[in-house]
């Protein structure tokens, strides 16, 4: 609990790891978690964290290569002053970027580009920016690399990379489709207001090298999982190729690369994993275990996804997935994927991803520029339950069709 509070509050602006790592040391030292379980947790999280680091670096290097700027230029040119068409393009770009380069890339790197693009067209930015924030969650269902929650579940599910993607493809499409329909209606007035076609610039310069590397990495995921190698190596290779090129061309520095890896974040994930495991070992499993539905029929999957969505909205989806994975892993991959639907789609319901974060921001007035909560929540109420239910049905269908 204290670790979570510190992660949300970030006293004195210190990185979250400053509190999480000592807390992990304390639970190990006091025997709240056995050494066996600690080793098991570290062995489980180690490769996940390596995978995560590779994807974070890959996204940052794609940004350095100008991939996101090129996306913005392409959207501005082809939207031709029509906000509705721009929304469609934002949906396509944000969904693909989130799926391949993870939700961090969409939130940190793509959203400002989309905002600037809308401003350049004189279009109202709100629908497009909200689409980015929603899709960073909803569109992160497809691949294990799309979201840290997926990487954790992927490790726990025992599925291969391709099977994970095959099972999640239909829920991914369904959830994005529902978001699109709701956005078109919800923001109909804003999308109706005209915009100007930009002064015609030539076609944007495509960062071909970055695109080919990313495509190669995707192929690498498929190949590695087919021959039984950890797909993290494919991500590592992709990041390595771009890093070497960027270093040779002096577009980046070793220090910038180290920053992109986000060591404090990785340490935080490992420590949070150990602390949560200690909490689960000390009684949370019995308490929550009664709430987790058994089986992998449609009603059970719906129940699991709903529970995961509620938990993600109360604390945050990262601890939520860490808590729920040990409780659902024995029920099979279907249950684990249902947890993912809940923790990935659910956070769109609350501004800032969880009530805990929201409360804290209210207390400190961290930014005086917060959104109108009523509107944000209304949008969440229109999208989340519908997207969640339909994507669970889609997952159930995919499980019946493809099997695990």
């Amino acid at each position: 609990m204290v670790v979570l509070v510190c992660a949300v509050v970030r006293p004195w602006g210190l990185p979250e790891a400053v509190f999480a790592v000592p807390a992990a040391a304390v639970v190990i030292a006091t025997g709240a978690i056995s050494l066996d379980h600690t080793a098991e947790e570290a062995a489980r999280l180690g490769p996940v964290i390596g995978f995560l680091a590779a994807v974070l670096v890959l996204a940052q290097l794609c940004d350095d290569e100008g991939l996101f700027q090129a996306c913005g230029a392409w959207m501005a040119r082809t939207a031709a002053g029509r906000p509705r068409r721009l929304l469609g393009q934002v949906f396509v770009v944000a969904s693909l970027i989130t799926a391949v380069l993870s939700l961090d890339a969409t939130v940190v790197l793509l959203t400002p580009v989309v905002f600037a693009t809308a401003a350049r067209l004189g279009a109202r930015a709100k629908p497009h920016v909200y689409a980015c924030t929603h899709l960073s969650n909803t569109a992160s269902l497809l691949l294990p690399v799309s979201n840290l929650t997926n990487l954790l579940a992927f490790a726990a599910s025992g599925l291969s990379f391709t099977r994970f993607a095959a099972l999640m493809a239909l829920p991914w499409v369904v959830a994005i489709g529902i978001e699109y329909l709701v956005f078109r209606r919800f923001f109909a007035v804003d999308l109706e207001a005209g915009a100007q076609a930009p002064a015609s610039a030539g076609p944007p310069e495509l960062p071909l090298f970055a695109l080919v590397t990313v495509a190669g990495t995707l192929v690498g995921f498929v190949v590695t999982s087919a021959v039984g190698i950890d797909p993290a190596w494919a991500a590592f290779a992709g990041a390595l190729v771009l890093a070497v090129r960027a270093l040779i061309r002096r577009r980046t520095t070793p220090a910038a690369l180290a920053r992109a890896v986000g060591l404090p974040f990785l340490a935080f994930v490992l420590a949070l994993g150990i602390v949560v495991r200690a909490v689960v070992d000390n009684g949370l499993d019995d308490a929550l275990g009664q709430l987790v539905p058994d089986g992998t029929g449609l009603p059970a999957l719906l129940g699991i996804a709903a529970l995961a969505a509620v938990l993600a909205n109360v604390i945050n989806n990262l601890p939520a997935v860490l808590v729920l994975l040990p409780l659902t892993a024995q029920a099979g991959p279907g249950a684990v994927l249902a947890v993912l639907l809940g923790v990935n789609i659910g956070p769109n319901l609350t501004y800032a991803g969880s009530l805990a974060t929201l409360l804290w921001r209210k207390i400190v007035h961290e930014h005086d520029t917060d959104v109108e909560l009523g509107e944000f929540t209304r949008l969440g109420l229109y999208t989340v339950p519908a997207a969640l239910i339909c994507s669970v049905v889609a997952l159930w269908g995919a499980l019946e069709l493809i099997g695990t």
């Binding site: 990185p15 905002f115 920016v129 909200y130 986000g262 930014h367």
Partner: protein, 166 residues
Amino acid sequence: MAVIVWIVEGTWPACVDAARSRVPEGSEIVLLHVTGHESPGAAHGAFAGLLGRGHPERDPGTRMEQLAADSARELLETAADRLGRDCARVERSGRVEREVVAAADGADLLILARDGDRSHLGPRSLGPASRFVVDHAPCPVLLVWPETAPGLSSIPAPPPHPPHHH
């Protein structure tokens, strides 16, 4: 005479044109743009939802606040060019509708465009923001259609006669 022209993305040209053709020469014209907080706010929220990432300097919302200020300046510049007269430019930020009402205090005229459903004549042609401004404006208001107004036939037929009460 002091005239405020509310400049909104997408619908502003009609307001500038109305100011050009209807406001007497020599009047004081103010082009007003208000930047809402929603977009940077949504980005702040999304970043805060990424637990454990630290690095507040990577918060995309902060970058977007800067971008919003730049684009507001450019929009007002374009609008001033179209007006082609001496005018003042005012940028505000906050709750859009309330800032507009506050800025219109003491003005002789406020010019704004309908920002709702423009396919029918009727109350829905005002979106929530312009509805608030029209309802609360502390000065006379000139409300223009962004494009040609829809015809009278877009008004729904009147309801049948109410039953007579005996």
